[in-house]
């Protein structure tokens, strides 16, 4: 219980939700690449804007509520079908460049969030051990 209170304050829950989101998005994007030859396949994506909107609302709630009282885990992820690329004659609207770019952006976001989380946890560890290393 005490550990729950510790890790559910500050930026940690935000970062954890963002990490879960980038993981889930990676799966959807990998699905797109795997289906590059599938006839009639529609490109899928998780809506980054909507997710960040919901995250922002939670952060605002967190600022005015007691520490650890705002639950971050009920943010939903919506699957959308982006209208990028040209529709080729097999009904698949893929664009290799767009898929690779989405993957690169997602991977960079993931790396950033992992680094920030690592910093959070090591700061907590420093406080627990009462030693700076």
């Amino acid at each position: 219980m005490f550990i729950d209170r510790l890790i559910s304050q500050g930026p940690t829950p935000v970062l954890e939700q963002e990490l879960a989101f980038t993981d889930a998005r990676q799966q959807v994007l990998a699905d797109n690449i795997a289906n590059v030859d599938t006839i009639g396949y529609q490109q899928k994506d998780l809506s980054v804007d909507k997710f960040q909107e919901m995250l922002r609302e939670k952060v605002e709630q967190q600022q005015s509520a007691a520490p650890g009282s705002v639950d971050f885990s009920d943010i939903e992820q919506e699957v959308e079908n982006p209208a990028n690329g040209i529709l080729s004659h097999d009904g698949n609207n893929r664009s290799m460049e767009q898929m690779m770019t989405d993957n690169a952006k997602n991977a960079l976001m993931h790396n950033l969030v992992v680094e920030l989380l690592r910093n959070q946890y090591s700061a907590m560890e420093m406080a627990l051990k009462e030693r700076v290393s």
């Binding site: 460049e97 767009q98 770019t101 690169a104 960079l108 950033l112 680094e115 910093n119």
Partner: protein, 134 residues
Amino acid sequence: MFEILDTGASGLMAQRARLDTIAENIANMNTTHGPNGEKTPFRRRMVLLGAGRPGDLSRPGVHVEKIEEDPSPFIQKFDPGNPDADSTGYVRMPNIDTTKEFVNAIDASRAYEANVTMMETAKSMFNSTLRLLA
């Protein structure tokens, strides 16, 4: 934060469209009939690019404005035995010059590589920024 990657991707898609059109031109170098059998030779296609990302023209990037046909005249080839020859014995061939197409192809593929290098640079800059934290 990742706008530069989207800009690069739009550049890649535009150069790919150019390369696709060049490939179509080269494939149809000797095409004297239309898709439904009409007796018009193939006209060279050109890709016109415009500024602005496809889907949101105010963001930086490039998009394919249109794919136009080259209005320059057809090449006349003297071949009286050919079933496509007109009354004077000349056959109208597509206005496609292989040399020009290949030079454009080299240009498009170099531009594609330049865009990829740009995106790699952006990624490595971002990763080195992350190392500041660690």
